[in-house]
C-alpha cells in the first residue's frame, strides 16, 4: 500500500484523559511539527475573521506558505481565498487538491482558554482554525519532500464556508482549472475531452493559453501532451493516456502559432 512509503510513528498523545483509546500511527514529520501546528491553530483561533473578511487570516497563511519556501502562492482567489501549488520534481503525474476552509462565526467565545478570541463577538467555533493549521503542516512537509512527488498538489485555503459559498467563488475564479496555479496540471482526460469536444464540434483543436504567465515549461508540457494525444494516443507514457479506447482521432491539418507561443484564447 502506498502509505507504507510515508514514515509513521506510534503516538500516544499528550493528554492522559484523551478520548483516543489507543496510539495513533502518525506521519513522523507531523509529530515533529506538533508544537508548531498547535501554535498556528491557536494563532488563528485567537484572530478569527468572518466570511469574506479573512484578510489577516489569508495574509498570515500566504506568509507562512512563502516562509516554507513555496513560491507559487496565489492570493485573492474567490475574494479572500489563497491557493498554493506544490509541484513534484520526480516527474509529471496527477493533480490532487486538498482543502481547508478558514472563516469564523459571529459568536462570542465563552471559553476561558488563553488562546480565546481577541476579536469580540467572532469565534472559530467550527474548527476551521484547525483545518488551516493541518493543511499548513501538510504544505510544509509536502514542499520539503517534493523531490519524491510525481504530480502537483493544489492547496486550497477557502473563505466563507459558513453559508456564503466561498468554494463556489473560488471555482468561479478558476480554482479547478489551470487558470489558478498556472498550467502543468491538466490531466490527459481533460485534454482528451477537449480534443474530442473540439473535433466533434468544429473539426479543429485550439490549445488555449489563458495568460502569458502560463507560458512556463509546464504549459509547454501540457501542449506537448495535447500534441502527443493528437499524433498517437499511446505514445505519451508519462501520463498514461486515458485515450486508448478512443482511437478515432485523426490529425489532418496542424497549424502552430503565429509567434513563439500559441495564440491565446479569446
Amino acid at each position: 500500500m502506498a502509505a507504507a512509503s510515508v514514515a509513521s510513528l506510534d503516538y500516544a498523545g499528550t493528554s492522559p484523559d484523551s478520548t483516543c483509546a489507543r496510539p495513533l500511527r502518525l506521519h513522523k514529520d507531523v509529530v515533529d511539527m506538533r508544537s508548531e501546528i498547535i501554535e498556528n491553530r491557536r494563532h488563528f483561533h485567537a484572530h478569527p475573521e468572518l466570511s469574506f473578511k479573512e484578510v489577516e487570516t489569508a495574509a498570515k497563511i500566504a506568509s507562512l506558505l512563502r516562509s516554507y519556501g513555496i513560491s507559487e502562492v496565489i492570493e485573492n482567489v474567490g475574494r479572500t481565498g489563497v491557493v498554493a501549488i506544490v509541484r513534484g520534481e520526480a516527474g509529471p503525474g496527477q493533480c490532487i487538491l486538498l482543502r481547508a476552509d478558514m472563516d469564523a462565526l459571529p459568536l462570542p467565545e465563552t471559553a476561558t482558554v488563553d488562546y480565546r478570541s481577541k476579536n469580540e463577538g467572532v469565534m472559530h467555533a467550527c474548527g476551521h482554525d484547525g483545518h488551516v493549521a493541518s493543511l499548513l503542516a501538510a504544505a510544509k512537509i509536502l514542499h520539503a519532500g517534493k523531490g519524491k512527488l510525481r504530480g502537483v498538489v493544489k492547496l486550497m485555503f477557502q473563505p466563507a464556508e459558513e453559508g456564503f459559498g466561498g468554494a463556489r467563488e473560488m471555482i468561479a475564479d478558476g480554482l479547478l482549472t489551470e487558470k489558478v496555479g498556472g498550467a502543468g496540471e491538466e490531466t490527459v482526460a481533460e485534454a482528451a475531452s477537449r480534443v474530442q469536444a473540439c473535433s466533434a464540434r468544429r473539426g479543429s483543436l485550439h490549445s488555449r493559453c489563458r495568460s502569458s504567465f502560463a507560458c512556463t515549461p509546464h504549459a509547454t508540457l501540457t501542449r506537448a501532451v495535447l500534441i502527443g494525444v493528437i499524433i498517437h494516443p499511446t505514445c505519451y507514457p508519462l501520463r498514461p493516456p486515458r485515450l486508448q479506447a478512443r482511437p478515432w482521432i485523426s490529425c489532418t491539418a496542424f497549424t502552430c502559432g503565429r509567434t513563439s507561443r500559441w495564440a491565446p484564447s479569446p
Binding site: M1, A2, A3, S5, V6, Y11, G13, S15, S18, T19, C20, R22, L24, R25, L26, H27, V31, R34, I37, I38, R41, G88, Q94, I96, L97, L98, R99, A100, L105, L107, P108, E109, T110, A111, M123, H124, A125, C126, G127, G130, H131, S134, L135, A137, A138, I141, L142, L149, R150, G151, E161, G163, G165, A167, R168, I171, L176, T177, A189, P240
Partner: protein
Amino acid sequence: MDFVYGIHLWTYIPLGTIAVSDGPIMAASDRFEISVRGKGGHGAAPQGTVDAIVEAAHLVLGLQTIVSRNRDPLDPAVLTCGMIKGGHGYNIIADHVSITGTVRTFTPETKGLVVSRMHEVCEGVAKTYGGEISMEYHNGYPATVNRWPEPVKVVKRVGEAVVGADRCGLTCRTCGAEDFSYLLEAKPGAFFFVGAALPGELRPHHKSVFDFDEDALLVSASVFLHIVDHYLGPDAEPAKHAAPAAAGVGAAS
C-alpha cells in the same frame, strides 16, 4: 485537476476515529420565506376578518406533516420554521405574518417532494382560511455527496493506516451543510470527518464553548499526506484509466 479532498474536524466522535462513507453525508441547506396575508380588524370583532395568526399557526402545523407523513422515512429531511413574526397589538387581529425557516435534505427526490408539498400546503391553508400565502424558496448549498467510490476507498485505506481498521470508515451523516459539495459536483474526491472530541462534556460545533483536541490536527495532517503519497508518492501506481465512474444519483455532470 484529478481529485479533491476535504476534511472536517468533528467533536461528536472521539479522537483517533475517521468517519468516511459513500453517498450523501451532509445535507442540502435551503431557506424559505413565507408571507401569510389575512384581513385585519378589531380583536373583539372577528367577523369579516381573516386572522393571519390563526392561518399561520395552521400552516406551521401543516408544514410539519410533510417530513412526518409524506417523506420516505429512510431518506432523512428536516423542515424547521425558525422565525415567525406578526401582529400589532393584543386587541388587533393580525393582517400579516411572516415565517422563515430552513429545509435540509440529502437527495434531489426528497427535496423536490418537500418543496412541492410546501407549495401545496401553503395553497391549501390559504384556501381554507380565505387568506393569501406566498413562499419564496432559496436554494443553498447542495448536499455533500461522496459519489465517487474510489476516493472514499483511498481515505479508508490511508485512514486505517493512521487510526486502525476498526476506527476508520464509520458512517457519519449530518443535516449540517458544507460547500465542499460544489467541488464534489465538479471533480472526483471525498469529504470525511476527523474525530476531535475533548474528554468530558461535548463541545458542539457552532457553540460558544466549542473546542477540540488539538492532537486531531496531527491525524488530519497525516491523512492529507498519506492521500498525496497514495497518488504522487514513489509507490503510487500510475493512473491507468479514465476518471472513475460516479455512483448513485446525481452524478457529476
